[in-house]
Symmetry: C2
Subunit: 83 residues, 2 copies
């Protein structure tokens, strides 16, 4: 499975998920929605018919917050949503 | 209700929808998902906890396609998803 990319300005983790059908894209978004509500973490998502780009900013709202182990763990939970 | 903005490079219609709760955001995305499947039109969407940005490219895949009445009608259908 592809890895998450770590970005600067702004600091975040990014990853693109691709799917073969719109139905698969929606299933993933639904599962991610439940995970977001369960952990009260709402990554910025952009999606079309068969892709989802996930942008995960540090949990802390500080402008110069760094990524922490928790952020990487949450990213791993998102990976685990893929069958 | 706000208007859609018409953009160039690439040609598209854009609009930001804001919501008071994550639940309202998800309801809107679900309704838009059904509309997309019904009309086989899948706008590019980016969203977070309480906003959805909709980018609607011309239905035609031509690189230099212009916006048509159909595109504006589809945009109107998206507006009608808001109670």
């Amino acid at each position: 499975m592809d890895q998450w990319s770590e970005r600067q300005r702004p600091v975040c983790l990014e990853k693109r998920f691709e799917f073969s059908t719109y139905g698969d894209t929606r299933d993933f978004l639904d599962r991610l929605g439940h995970l977001s509500e369960a952990q009260d973490r709402f990554p910025d998502l952009s999606f079309g018919k068969t892709y989802v780009n996930v942008t995960l900013r540090p949990a802390s709202d500080d402008v110069d917050a760094a990524l922490t182990a928790d952020d990487h763990t949450f990213a791993q939970h998102i990976d685990e949503l893929i069958d």
